[in-house]
């Protein structure tokens, strides 16, 4: 079973403090949506409001077309997996999974069947009579997911469920969650501050910052066409380079920008685009810059720090005017700190941001 989720003009206030401001969002049945944002942006609060663990100050929340924001958590048809797992410590795995079903009077044999099926799916059937303290972090995580699955909810809510796992286990569990979603076809909302989790799991990502939604889109839309400078800087590693503009003119086929440290750059942004040069900036991802081969000309960059990641090399350098620029080079690039490199720009890979942070469309 899966259901759509609708949030209409949802706000959350604690006295004079507003933590979520007029959030509207529509999630289709069976969709995997990730709420992504920095700590304190309100993403967990929004999830807890959908779960019913926080009151809604204004606005409405519907699950499967039924308004739920006035209902208690247990009556909303959603199941939640907590960051800390929140397993009942004195109950066995079986009892943990059965507790919610007992509370709504599901017949015993039906409970047994569902618990067994979920345990098999999650490969925890050999742990079923153990208590949580006898389980590893990854096993607890599975039990917490199992406890949600047996309820056959209309939607699954995950509150940073991978953050307590070590890196290897996190990667594996991420993959398993994706498989679980494919198998169950349920609506899932997943809260995280980890962009890799968001990019790999989501059908759509909801980027949140400072009480509001910055952008909603598929992972590739978010990555390739960030709606704001915040989204552009939050998604992608290393962070996108931002260079201030000094002049905007009509160029050969679009806008010609005078960029601090780079000089005049021809772009394909439509020449009729209205944008004030004051406070505007040009964004370039590190992978859209490359180091010119020896003898070729480019923009001189003095390498300050060279990070070798094996498959690629990150060069953090300074341009002629003192602006910082990060360039991604091949893993085998023979770059040394202190060296002056020639950097080449890939055409039409630019992001143009107005002073208020909004992206100017039409570049690519």
């Amino acid at each position: 079973m899966s259901a759509s989720i609708e949030l209409e003009n949802v706000s959350k206030r604690y006295g004079a403090l507003t933590v979520l401001d007029d959030i509207s969002l529509s999630i289709a049945a069976g969709e995997f949506v990730v709420f992504l944002g920095p700590s304190g942006c309100g993403k967990s609060t929004l999830l807890r409001m959908i779960a019913g663990l926080e009151d809604v100050s204004s606005g409405t929340i519907s699950v499967g077309g039924r308004r739920v924001d006035t209902l208690p958590p247990g009556k909303r048809g959603v199941a939640m997996v907590f960051q800390s797992y929140a397993l009942y410590p004195h109950m066995t795995v079986r009892q943990n999974m059965a507790f919610g079903l007992e509370n709504i009077g599901v017949p015993k044999d039906e409970i047994g069947r569902r618990v067994k099926a979920a345990a098999q799916t999650l490969e925890i059937d050999h742990l079923i009579d153990r208590k949580p303290q006898k389980l590893s972090g990854g096993q607890r995580q599975r039990v917490a997911i199992g406890r949600a699955i047996v309820k056959e909810p209309a939607a699954f809510l995950f509150d940073e469920p991978l953050s307590n796992l070590d890196a290897a286990l996190r990667g594996r569990t991420r993959l398993e969650l994706a498989q679980l979603h494919a198998r169950l076809g349920s609506t899932m909302i997943f809260v995280t501050h980890d962009q890799v989790e968001a990019m790999t799991l989501a059908d759509r990502i909801v980027i949140m910052n400072a009480r509001r939604i910055e952008q909603i889109g598929t992972p590739m839309e978010i990555y390739q066409r960030p709606a704001t400078r915040f989204v552009a800087s939050f998604i992608g590693s290393p962070t996108m380079n931002f260079l201030p503009l000094t002049a905007i003119e009509k160029g050969q086929s679009g806008l010609a920008l005078s960029v601090a440290g780079l000089g005049r750059v021809e772009t394909s942004f439509p020449s009729q685009t209205k944008i004030d040069v004051e406070g505007a900036s040009l964004g370039i991802r590190a992978e859209d810059l490359s180091i010119s081969a020896e003898g070729e000309t480019g923009i001189p960059l003095k390498a300050e720090i060279v990070e070798r990641l094996g498959d690629r090399t990150l060069v953090y350098g300074v341009l002629g005017d003192g602006s910082k620029l990060t360039v991604e080079a091949d893993g085998r690039a023979a770059v040394r700190a202190g060296e002056v490199l020639q950097v080449r720009l890939a055409p039409d890979t630019f992001h143009l941001f107005a002073a208020d942070g909004r992206a100017v469309r039409g570049g690519q």
């Binding site: 019913g52 663990l53 247990g74 929140a86 009942y88 507790f99 509370n103």
Partner: protein, 291 residues
Amino acid sequence: MAESYRRSQWSHGLFILPYLCFFLVLLVFPLFWGMWLSLHKADLFGPGRFVGLTNYTRVLADPVFLQALRNTIIFVAVSVPALVVIGLFLALALNRTTRATSFFRGLFFSSSVLSVTIVTLIWRFVFIPGDGLLAVLFKQVGLTPISFLSTSGWSLFSVGAATVWWCIGLPMMLFLAALQQVPQDLYEAAALDNASGWRVLTRITLPSIARTIVLVTIIQIVLQFQLFGQAQLMTNGGPSGTSRPLVMYIYEVGFVRWDIGRGAAASQILFLIILVAAMAQYIVSSRKTEA
């Protein structure tokens, strides 16, 4: 290296030496001296003579001792569950942070800081026939007042009521501390699991604080077996010994009749009873937790 390590370990022992001295002199020595005394016919004025287990057989054959033992067991069997249940109830009711709950926590705990003399004075005002609070209330509703302190059965009840009122602060505080240790997300998970208030209490809250319930019960068993001051000051053990506790028997034998040996023997029996009761409670509940 090994030698210096061994020496440094010995020097660590010096830190507990001061405490150890007091422990040996004030606790271990009196304990064994009490055992030694219980085997002698002795008074406070000089060395006694060895009489073997005579003191024990005389104490166990003494109807006054048996009555005091019965009184004490009834008292513990009623007051300890009352302290645990009322303490838990108060803690559950006051387990939130508002100004009112802080006030009531302070109020309920305040009785604990009073001395037994004050407590018994207050409760004498409540129970005393004629002008006592209960007598006035009884008269108001047209009932004949009961002489709580001088009626067989009611006298021990009165001592119990005063004791529960006096001692309720500690169980309440220990339960509150335990409740605040229960992770909030367990309650959130239970809310999403559709658990009713009763299911949350019996399946989440009580199992989560089971250790504290055992602790409070054992502490209270140990404390309430030592009942003395309230009974001495409110009823003086009366009427006809129906509210005389074991410690009062020990006091009367040892310090009124000067039969220190027999008093010591009765003390050893009380010590054994407390030990067995507390251990039994511990073993039963730890088995239950494991199951």
